[in-house]
C-alpha cells in the first residue's frame, strides 16, 4: 500500500471520527492530558481509601480492585485484577474484584485505536499516528466499552501502573512512619515489611495516609522475568459463584418493591405500532400496566406485572397490529438487494496493491479461479436473554444491566427519560454471554422507559428467548465475489475480492446517535480479507455497503466472522487449483511475516498435517489474523454413515504475550465452538419482515455431542499484543468448510454448511 493511498483512506475515514468527537478535539492537548476524576471517590465506605480508579483499600486490609470491563465469560475480571495485583504485591485470592461504576476514567482507548483502517501488521508512521489519534478520540469520548478483544491490551500498562503507583505510596507512608528510605522496604501479600527492624504494616493500616501522598513521577514496571502472577494460569475469581448458581447476573437483580416486565417489539424491525388492544391482558392476574415503548430503535409495548411469567403471559394476550419496516420483507428480497450491491455498488478498497485490472486483462481462462460466497444473518443467542433493571426516582435513574458499554448506557438511558447523564448510575452485573450483543444498549434504554412509568418502583425487564432472537442486532449477511489469476507455479499473481454487506456502523449510529451521519467506508465489511498478511503482487479487496436496514451489530469477531470464511475458503480453492498444499501456499504467501509462518508451522506439527489419514476422514486448514492475534487452525472431520462428525480442532495462536495461558486457551476454545456452531447450523431468515427463527429448536447452536476435541498451542513471538476473545472464531469456519471439501469433494460456499451436508 502506498502512502498516497493511505492518506486518501485516512482522510475519508476520519470523517466518521471527527463527527463522533465534534467539540472534543478543539479543547486541545491539555485537556487530553488531564486525568478524569476518580469515580471511586464518590463511593468509599467509612475509612476506605482510594489511590486511583483501580484500587480501594479498607482499614481491615480488605483490598478491592476494579476491573472495569464487562465479565461475559472471557475471564477479564481475573486477568485485569492480576495486572494490578502483580505490581501491588497482593495475591489474587486476597482481593475482591468489582466491575466498578461507569466512568470516563475507564475509557477503552484501544478499542477505538483498533478502529483505524490499517492492517494490524502495518506499523508505518501514518498508521501509528492514526492509532494514537483514535486513542485521543477514545479518551475524549470517555467510551468505557468491552469489545474488539481489547481489554487486556488496553489494560496492560494502565492497570499495572495503577498497582505500582498504589504500592509506592503505601511504601512512602510506611517509610514516613519509620523514618526509613522507601527503597529499603519490601512489599508482599498486602503487607509492607521493613527488613531492618522486622516491622510490618498491612496495607489497610497505611491506606489513609498513603492515599494522600503523590506517587513518584516515574515508576519502573516489573519485567516479565519478575512476574509472579502474570503469565501463569490463575484460578478465576468468578468460578465459585458460577458453579453454585449465585445470583450474579442481570436477571438475578432483586430490589425492594421490584416489578417484573417484558417487552414485545414490532417484529418488522423499526416499523411503527399500528394499534394495541390490551383489554384482555389488563384483566390477567398480577398485571399492572401495558405501556408503549417507542424509540428510534424499535417500537412496541411492555407489560408490567408482579412476576416475569405473568408478564410473559399477558404480553401474549395483548393484540398488536404492526406497521411495516423499510427493508425487503423476505430473505429472497434481501438477497436481491445484496446481490445488486455486490454487482453495482461502489466499492471502497481496503487494499489495492499492484494493478488488478491489468493483471486480469490478459489472463488465460484456464489460469483463472472464480467463486461466489455468501453468509446469512446470525443471532448472538447469549444464554442469558437480554434484560435490564431500572429505577427512576426523584430525578435519579439507576440501571442494573449486563452490558458491554456502561458509559453509553448512562448517556442514552438518561436521555431516553429526559434527565442529565450525571443523574444516571449504571451498575454492571455479570453478563450471561455477550459476544458483542451487549455492546448494543437497546435493552437498557427500554428498561429506563419502562421505569419511567412505575412511579419510582424498580422494574426488571426480561426478554423472552423469542424476543431476544427476533430483536437481535444480527451479524450482517454478506456476499463475496472473488477471482484469482494463478501463475505457472500455482501461486496467485492476482486476487480480486468484492464483498457486500450491510454496514454495522451505518446501523448503529442512526439507532443511537441519529444526528451523526455515518459517512465514509466501513472497515468491518472487509475486515479479515483486506488486512491479512499475504503478499500478492496484485491484490485488491473492495467493500460495498449494502442498503438493507435490518439492525446489525457486533457479532464475535465482527467482519472477520465472514471474511475469514471468504478469504480462507477462497485461498483453499486457489491451493487446490494450483496443485499446492494449503499450508505450503500460506508459507509462501506469508513469508514476509514470520509470526504468520510460525503459527502455520506450529499447527502443522500439532495436527501432523500431511500424514496419511484413516479412510473416511479429512483435514482442513485456515489462517486469520484478527484483533492482533495470529491464528492458524486445522479441523479434522469424519464420515459417519453419511453424516459428518467434527472430530478434532488444532489451534496455534500467537497474541504476542499471554497474561493467563489457561484463560487464553479457554477463549480460543470458546471462539472455535462459536464459529463452528454457526457453520453447522445457524441461520436467521426473514418472512413478512420478521425473523423466522425464535428459539433453540430452530436456531440450533452446537451441543456437547457435536463438539470436537480442541487442542490449543500458544506462541509468544509477535511483538505487538493481541486479543483473546474473538480471534479463535474466524479461521474455525473456513477450516471446517475446507475439511468438508477434502472429505466430500463438495466446495460449499454458502453458510451454514448444513444446507448441503448433514452433521452429527
Amino acid at each position: 500500500m502506498t502512502m498516497a493511498t493511505l492518506g486518501k483512506i485516512a482522510r475519508r475515514t476520519f470523517l466518521i471520527g471527527t463527527g463522533l468527537v465534534a467539540g472534543g478535539l478543539a479543547v486541545g492537548y491539555y485537556y487530553y492530558r488531564k486525568p478524569y476524576p476518580n469515580p471511586l471517590e464518590d463511593e468509599l465506605a467509612e475509612g476506605e481509601a482510594t489511590f486511583n480508579p483501580y484500587v480501594k483499600i479498607a482499614p481491615d486490609n480488605t483490598i478491592t480492585l476494579i476491573a472495569p470491563r464487562a465479565e461475559m465469560g472471557q475471564g477479564v475480571s481475573t486477568t485485569l485484577a492480576a495486572l494490578v495485583a502483580e505490581e501491588l504485591d497482593v495475591r489474587l485470592d486476597q482481593v475482591i474484584v468489582e466491575h466498578g461504576p461507569a466512568g470516563h476514567a475507564y475509557a477503552n482507548t484501544t478499542m477505538l485505536e483498533e478502529g483505524v483502517p490499517f492492517p494490524h501488521f502495518d506499523e508505518s508512521t501514518v498508521a501509528e499516528l492514526m492509532r494514537s489519534g483514535m486513542a485521543v478520540a477514545g479518551k475524549f469520548l470517555g467510551l468505557q466499552g468491552t469489545g474488539g478483544s481489547t481489554s487486556i491490551v488496553d489494560g496492560f500498562y494502565k492497570m499495572r501502573q495503577a498497582g505500582a503507583a498504589a504500592r509506592e505510596v503505601l511504601k512512602l507512608a510506611a517509610a514516613k512512619r519509620l523514618g526509613a528510605e522507601p527503597g529499603s522496604l519490601w512489599t508482599s501479600d498486602g503487607i509492607v515489611t521493613d527488613p531492618a527492624s522486622g516491622t510490618t504494616f498491612t496495607y489497610g493500616e497505611l491506606a489513609q495516609e498513603a492515599a494522600a501522598l503523590a506517587p513518584p513521577a516515574e515508576i519502573r514496571l516489573r519485567e516479565k522475568s519478575e512476574w509472579k502472577i502474570l503469565g501463569k494460569p490463575q484460578a478465576r475469581i468468578d468460578m465459585r459463584a458460577k458453579v453454585t448458581g449465585a445470583p450474579i447476573f442481570g436477571i438475578d437483580v432483586r430490589l425492594p418493591d421490584m416489578l417484573f416486565a417484558t417487552l414485545r417489539m414490532n417484529p418488522y424491525r423499526g416499523g411503527p405500532i399500528a394499534s394495541l388492544d390490551d383489554a384482555d391482558a389488563m384483566k390477567m392476574r398480577g398485571v399492572l400496566k401495558v405501556v408503549k415503548v417507542e424509540t428510534g430503535i424499535a417500537n412496541g409495548y411492555a407489560v408490567i406485572a408482579d412476576n416475569t411469567w405473568r408478564a410473559f403471559q399477558a404480553a401474549d394476550a395483548v393484540k398488536a397490529e404492526w406497521g411495516k419496516g423499510t427493508y425487503p420483507p423476505d430473505s429472497a428480497g434481501i438477497r436481491q438487494a445484496l446481490e445488486a450491491a455486490l454487482k453495482e455498488g461502489d466499492a471502497s478498497y481496503g487494499r489495492d496493491d499492484g494493478n488488478v485490472e491489468t493483471a486480469f486483462a490478459d489472463a488465460p481462462r484456464e489460469r483463472i479461479v472464480e467463486a461466489d460466497y455468501g453468509v446469512p444473518y446470525l443471532a448472538h443467542a447469549t444464554m442469558e436473554p437480554m434484560n435490564a433493571t431500572a429505577r427512576l426516582k426523584d430525578g435519579r435513574l439507576d440501571i442494573w444491566a449486563p452490558n458491554q458499554m456502561p458509559t453509553m448506557v448512562r448517556q442514552l438511558a438518561a436521555a431516553a427519560v429526559g434527565i442529565e447523564t450525571a443523574d444516571c448510575f449504571v451498575h454492571t452485573t455479570y453478563l450471561g454471554g455477550g459476544f458483542g450483543r451487549r455492546g448494543d444498549v437497546d435493552y437498557a434504554i427500554y428498561a429506563a422507559i419502562v421505569a419511567s412509568k412505575t412511579e419510582g418502583r424498580p422494574v426488571q425487564v426480561t426478554w423472552t428467548r423469542e424476543e431476544d432472537m427476533q430483536q437481535d442486532m444480527y451479524r450482517p449477511a454478506a456476499l463475496g465475489r472473488f477471482r484469482a489469476r494463478l501463475g505457472n507455479d500455482g501461486l496467485p499473481v492476482a486476487v480480486d475480492m468484492r464483498i457486500a454487506a450491510p454496514s454495522i456502523i451505518g446501523s448503529i449510529l442512526p439507532r443511537y446517535f441519529p444526528s451523526i451521519s455515518p459517512i465514509g467506508p466501513d472497515k468491518s465489511i472487509t475486515d479479515g480479507s483486506a488486512n491479512q498478511p499475504y503478499t500478492i503482487a496484485n491484490y485488491r479487496v473492495g467493500g460495498i455497503k449494502a442498503p438493507v436496514s435490518i439492525p446489525v451489530g457486533f457479532w464475535r469477531s465482527v467482519g472477520n466472522s465472514f471474511n475469514g470464511f471468504f478469504h480462507e475458503g477462497f485461498m483453499d480453492e486457489i491451493a487446490v487449483a494450483g496443485g499446492l498444499d494449503p499450508l505450503e501456499l500460506r508459507r509462501k504467501l506469508m513469508a514476509a511475516y514470520p509470526t504468520a509462518v510460525n503459527v502455520v508451522d506450529k499447527v502443522g506439527a500439532m495436527s501432523r498435517w500431511g500424514e496419511k489419514l484413516p479412510p473416511g476422514t479429512a483435514k482442513g486448514f485456515a489462517f486469520t489474523l484478527s484483533f492482533g492475534t495470529w491464528v492458524a487452525q486445522v479441523v479434522q472431520v469424519a464420515d459417519v454413515g453419511g453424516r459428518i462428525r467434527i472430530e478434532k480442532v488444532w489451534c496455534a495462536a500467537d497474541p504476542g504475550q499471554v497474561m493467563d495461558p489457561a484463560i487464553f486457551e479457554a477463549q480460543m476454545m470458546s471462539g472455535i465452538v462459536y464459529g463452528l456452531s454457526s457453520a453447522i447450523g445457524e441461520e436467521i431468515t426473514f418472512a413478512d419482515g420478521a425473523a423466522e427463527q425464535s428459539n433453540f429448536h430452530d436456531y440450533t447452536p452446537m451441543r456437547i455431542h457435536q463438539c470436537p476435541q480442541i487442542e490449543v498451542g500458544i506462541l509468544e513471538t509477535a511483538h505487538r499484543m493481541g486479543g483473546a476473545g474473538e480471534p479463535g472464531t474466524p479461521p474455525s469456519i473456513p477450516a471446517l468448510a475446507n475439511a468438508v471439501h477434502a472429505l466430500t469433494g463438495k466446495r460449499i460456499r454458502s453458510m451454514p454448511l448444513s444446507k448441503e451436508v448433514e452433521f452429527l
Partner: protein
C-alpha cells in the same frame, strides 16, 4: 400461524372423513379401506416419530421444517425412557407444556419398543407387523384396538398441543377402524 393450523387440521379432517365415508360406502374391500384409515394414523408423524428404528425420535411439523432427528442427541436408552442424566421426563411432563414450542407431554412419555418400529415403513410392512405378536407387543388385534383407544400416550397423538398437527380422526374412530379391519380378516395391502 393460526391460518396454517387451520389449514393443517382442515386437511387432516378431510382425509379422515374421506376414509370413513369410503368405508361406510362399502367400497370393494371394507377391510383394506379400514386399514387405510389405520395406516393414516399409524404413519402420521404424531405416532410414527416415536416408532423409530435407530433409537432416535423424530421432530416434524410446522415449526421444525422437514422431519429431522430430535435435537439434543436424544436416544432410547436402556429402558426406552431416555438416558441417565437426560430422561424423556426431564423435559416431557404429564401434559403438554402450554408455551409455544414447549415440550409436549403425556403420562410415561417414552419411545415405542424397539421391535415396534414403523417410521417410514410402507403400509404393507406396518400392516404385517401389527399382526405379528413378536412385533406388536404380544397383543391380539382386540388388545391392539383397546390399546389405541385407551393408552394415554397413544391418545396424545390426537391432542398434541398448540402448534402441532394432530393425528387424523380420533382415538375412538381409530378403535372402530381397527375393529372393522379385524372383523374383515385384517387384510394387508399388496404394497
Amino acid at each position: 400461524m393460526i391460518d396454517l393450523l387451520k389449514a393443517l387440521t382442515g386437511f387432516a379432517g378431510c382425509a379422515v372423513a374421506a376414509l370413513l365415508s369410503a368405508t361406510a360406502a362399502g367400497a370393494q374391500d371394507p377391510g383394506l379401506d379400514a386399514w387405510r384409515g389405520i395406516y393414516a394414523v399409524f404413519s402420521h408423524p404424531r405416532c410414527a416419530n416415536c416408532h423409530v428404528e435407530d433409537d432416535r425420535p423424530r421432530w416434524s411439523g410446522a415449526h421444525y421444517g422437514r422431519t429431522r432427528v430430535h435435537d439434543m442427541n436424544v436416544q432410547r436408552g436402556a429402558d426406552g425412557l431416555g438416558n441417565p442424566g437426560m430422561r424423556c421426563t426431564t423435559c416431557h411432563q404429564e401434559q403438554n407444556a402450554a408455551q409455544r414450542h414447549g415440550p409436549p407431554g403425556a403420562p410415561a412419555w417414552h419411545l415405542a419398543p424397539a421391535e415396534m418400529v414403523w417410521w417410514q415403513k410402507s403400509s404393507k410392512e406396518i400392516c404385517e407387523q401389527v399382526k405379528d405378536p413378536a412385533r406388536n407387543g404380544n397383543r391380539t388385534l382386540d388388545e391392539i384396538a383397546l390399546h389405541v383407544r385407551d393408552d394415554d400416550l397413544v391418545s396424545w397423538g390426537w391432542q398434541p398441543g398448540t402448534g402441532r398437527e394432530p393425528a387424523p380422526g380420533s382415538a375412538e374412530e381409530t378403535y372402530q377402524l381397527l375393529r372393522q379391519w379385524s372383523a374383515a380378516g385384517a387384510p394387508c395391502p399388496a404394497d
